[in-house]
Amino acid sequence: MSTAIRWFWFASPQTFYPLAGAIARVSAVGAALLVAAGLYVGFFVAPTDAQQGEVYRVIFIHVPAAWMSMFLYVVMAFWAAIGLAFNTRLSAMMASAIAPTGALFTFVALWTGALWGRPTWGTYWVWDARLTSELILLFLYLGFMALQAAIDDARRADRAGAVLAIVGVVNVPIIYYSVQWWNTLHQGASVSLTRAPSMASTMLAGMLLMALAFWLYSIAATLARVRCIIRERA
């Protein structure tokens, strides 16, 4: 019972503002430490890949960024839905604060993917299922942000964005599977994306460290942004 009261206590932007600042600071420090540890493991501890050589090391940025990009869209839709259902202003602010970070990670995943693709496949871009659905995910993020930016009334922006995010999150799996299916239908490029089945445990450790770092970065960036939004609307 007391936890429920606690939740609603922090659902108010005024009481959440200082808490967000504290969590953001701690998360930012944690993210910096974990990035340092993750990059150290990635660059110096993890062994050189037998097939790809050193270039595979982009995986330590690429894969965690791709994970975060998809995960953050779901989190964004979750907060948007909560905001729409309970009419809590803070939830909608969280959704709009998450969107730029999600779009950033989607872009980073695409960019590092292109940089990785050039030496390994000989091309910056292939119409692979994962690349294509990541690109469409970027469009969905940009659409959400563009819709909110186009609406002057903050309340309407929150709620319109929420409907769009919910429609988007229902569509994301449909898009993903249809793109995958389209990809198997058009067996054009002879590119196999299957990675080495046995991944060295240090590689996995580096990737998990980076994923954790990106989590903490997302929390820090989102909460810092939500503080700006609270200030803006105060």
Binding site: G143, A150, G168, V170
Partner: protein, 222 residues
């Protein structure tokens, strides 16, 4: 409820029939876009045959997106929409009826004229049936998804471009399944899988989209 839907349907159709030019513009756009591709990629028959399903579907996507702006704009401008929101008929049913009316005057003509475009692209005659069927199943889905976007962007500045940004990514599955079904037939395979999935998308969007449209309309007009 049924009566309300029927009234909306009849009203929207009557409005379009009084000014048929509006609906014809989107259709003309479809024909023009499809006619531009050979000028861009060259008139080599084998190439045209290969790109035809995709081009026709992309043109249909763009044409149905362009006509979306008309869906609620006039009713919003003259206050009809507010009366519909205040009325006793469930808004989801009203939205579904409006989408249906819109599809009858913008989607159905696309289905009817697509074989003509297919003729331009020298598509094999046995593909016409699948092309028409895929458009018949797919264009209502485009209407339902697009109507959510149209309702969300109602009365915003730059609504047209914004609508494209919101709606086109969501159209991807319909495009893949629609164009894919025709390509399956041209490869000598059965298009059943794609067509059934299109039908599934139609059922799901017809069941859920009207409520999202209704929520979006309430948000945009309050």
């Amino acid at each position: 409820m049924i009566a309300a839907a029927r009234t909306i349907l009849a009203r929207d159709l009557r409005i379009v029939l009084r000014r048929p030019g509006d609906a014809a513009t989107a259709l003309l756009f479809f024909v023009i876009v499809a006619s531009l591709f050979p000028l861009g990629v060259g008139a080599e028959p084998n190439l045209l045959r290969a790109v035809a399903p995709g081009v026709i579907w992309v043109a249909a996507l763009l044409a149905s997106m362009l006509s979306l702006a008309r869906l609620f704009a006039a009713d919003h401008a003259d206050g009809t929409l507010e009366q519909l929101l205040l009325g006793s008929a469930p808004l989801g049913v009203v939205s579904a009826a409006k989408v249906l009316a819109h599809w009858l005057v913008s989607g159905l003509p696309l289905v009817a004229i697509a074989p003509l475009i297919a003729l331009q692209y020298d598509l094999a005659p046995e593909l016409y049936g699948t092309l028409a069927l895929s458009l018949l199943l797919g264009t209502p889905v485009l209407g339902f998804i697009g109507a959510i976007g149209a309702a969300l962007t109602l009365g915003l500045r730059g609504a047209g471009v914004l609508l494209a940004l919101l709606v086109l990514p969501l159209y991807v599955p319909v495009l893949i399944l629609g164009a894919g079904s025709v390509e399956m037939v041209s490869a000598g395979l059965a298009p059943d899988g794609q067509l059934l999935l299109l039908a599934a998308l139609l059922v799901v969007s017809a069941a859920f989209a009207p409520w999202a449209i209704a929520a979006a309309l309430r948000i945009s007009t309050e």
